[in-house]
């Protein structure tokens, strides 16, 4: 498929997920690079270009180079990045640290905040109840992130409109988004 249509469809999937938090949609794949899911690459190719910066959590200079080569986006520190990529198998501590460092914008310009693109595994028993704009009453979704990550996110998002937006992609290419407005609470099993 032509890149124009590919990125358009990928964007519409992301727009659906961002406007309806918790909604799981399937991404398509096109290009692949080692170290991240092909569908994560689809997200990067749709959102990144030379106008924005990105960081990869964990020491991954090769991955950084490849993303830069594919998208033209500039590499930066996590604290300055517009997009923060969290590849699969990143330690919980590193993810928490990235969320704590991620920029959250300021009250005048809350859009100067980071979007985290986090790779997760599909298989999980962890359930989260979501509330907020885009959700009718509430919704419960399975999502393989730890309570510490959710707590770090909540701490970073406590002063709306400041905060970080998160996009989760799993190995089946399914995507879920949690904008800063979404409150997530653990569901007792």
């Amino acid at each position: 498929m032509e890149l124009t249509h590919f990125t358009q469809q990928t964007f519409r999937t992301l727009m659906t997920c961002m406007s309806r938090p918790g909604t799981k949609e399937a991404l398509q794949k096109d290009a692949m690079i080692d170290g991240i899911y092909a569908e994560t690459m689809s997200v990067l190719r749709t959102m990144l270009d030379g106008e924005v910066t990105f960081a990869v959590v964990g020491q991954a200079p090769r991955l950084q180079q490849e993303v830069m080569a594919w998208t033209g986006a500039n590499v930066s520190e996590v604290a300055d990045a517009d997009f923060i990529l969290v590849p699969q198998h990143t330690d919980e501590a590193q993810i928490v640290e990235a969320i704590q460092q991620a920029k959250i914008g300021d009250l005048v310009d809350p859009q100067y905040s980071a979007t985290l693109i986090v790779e997760v595994v599909a298989e999980t028993s962890q359930q989260w109840q979501l509330t907020g704009p885009g959700i009718q009453d509430n919704t419960i979704i399975p999502l393989a992130i730890t309570p510490n990550i959710v707590a770090a996110r909540a701490a970073r998002n406590k002063e709306f409109p400041l905060g970080v937006d998160m996009i989760f992609v799993n190995e089946h290419g399914e995507v879920v988004a949690l904008p800063r407005t979404t409150k997530a609470e653990g569901v007792e099993q």
Binding site: L3, T4, H5, M15, M47, L107, G134, P179
Partner: protein, 281 residues
């Protein structure tokens, strides 16, 4: 001759618009600045809405464009032509058949669904502009949630006329945080912003802002306890063609008889009702 890119805009412009849309969705009611490209339509003629449409439209979409409730007015027709010429998508006047609905000054009478996106053209996105000319300052007023100016504007109208005289573009509070101009839709349409099934995107091309109301988001029209928000009432009036009373009506004057009459403002809805009437007969 080089061929135009799909949906006219180059990929970089689309990406920038798309990033602004996602930020707008994440911060409901907040006006996200964007570059606003030059288009073959003058700024102030729907370029904000058009750039959103061009930024998100795909081959499978079905587009409806309305201007003041009409699918056939010059602005709507030209925008539709521009989009179809550069994308080849189908257009419709039936609200139910559209996936994208770009509109100036109305939200259709037919309830929108969750698989549809409503795109509103915005002439003036800043609800505080008439009390503060400086963008530098209005941005800070939003930052501090300092909206007494917006209330003061309505208060002055009440002092003068014993009611709010703001007919269209009546300000709303989104997600209990940002005061937002809903674009010059009549007050009648304001309640449709609240808890909408469809995503609503708003674009101001001249003022270079994109903002959004996600579905199922709390949207309240500004009001006072003793002067609650009211929508236009059409008591005792009905559409001359369809007899409908539960719709937004236009007041028109018959040029020959000088008689005042009313017609359904949403023309595609009116046609549909007329067709149903004919079918029953």
């Amino acid at each position: 001759m080089t061929t135009l890119p799909f949906a006219l805009l180059d990929e970089q412009s689309k990406r920038e618009i798309r990033r602004a849309i996602l930020k707008g969705i994440a911060i409901p009611g907040y006006q996200v600045p964007f570059a606003s490209r030059e288009l073959p339509i003058g700024r102030g003629w729907g370029t904000g809405g058009l750039q959103i449409t061009l930024g998100i439209i795909g081959k499978e979409d079905v587009l409806k464009v309305i201007d003041q409730g009409s699918d056939d007015s010059v602005n709507a027709v030209n925008i539709k032509k521009l989009v179809t010429k550069t994308t080849g998508v189908d257009t419709t006047i039936r609200t139910q058949d559209a996936t994208l609905i770009q509109s100036r000054h109305r939200i259709p009478e037919v309830p929108l669904r969750s698989d549809q996106v409503m795109i509103l053209q915005v002439p003036e996105p800043e609800p505080l502009r008439n009390i503060e000319r400086s963008e530098f300052k209005t941005k800070r007023l939003h930052a501090e949630k300092e909206y007494s100016g917006a209330y003061l504007t309505l208060f002055e109208q009440i002092m003068r006329y014993n009611q709010t005289s703001q007919g269209a573009d009546y300000p709303v509070m989104v997600n209990e945080r940002y005061v937002m101009n809903p674009s010059p839709i009549p007050r009648y349409d304001n309640p449709r912003l609240h808890n909408s099934d469809a995503l609503i995107l708003l674009g101001a091309g001249r003022e270079k802002k994109i903002y959004a109301v996600p579905p199922y988001t709390h949207v309240a029209s500004l009001a006072f306890e003793d002067y609650p928000f009211v929508v236009e009432k059409f008591e005792g009036k009905a559409c001359r063609e369809t007899g409908l009373t539960d719709v937004f009506l236009d007041e028109l004057v018959d040029e020959e008889t000088g008689e005042t009459y009313y017609m359904c403002n949403d023309t595609s809805y009116m046609y549909e009702k007329l067709q149903q009437k004919v079918a029953v007969k």
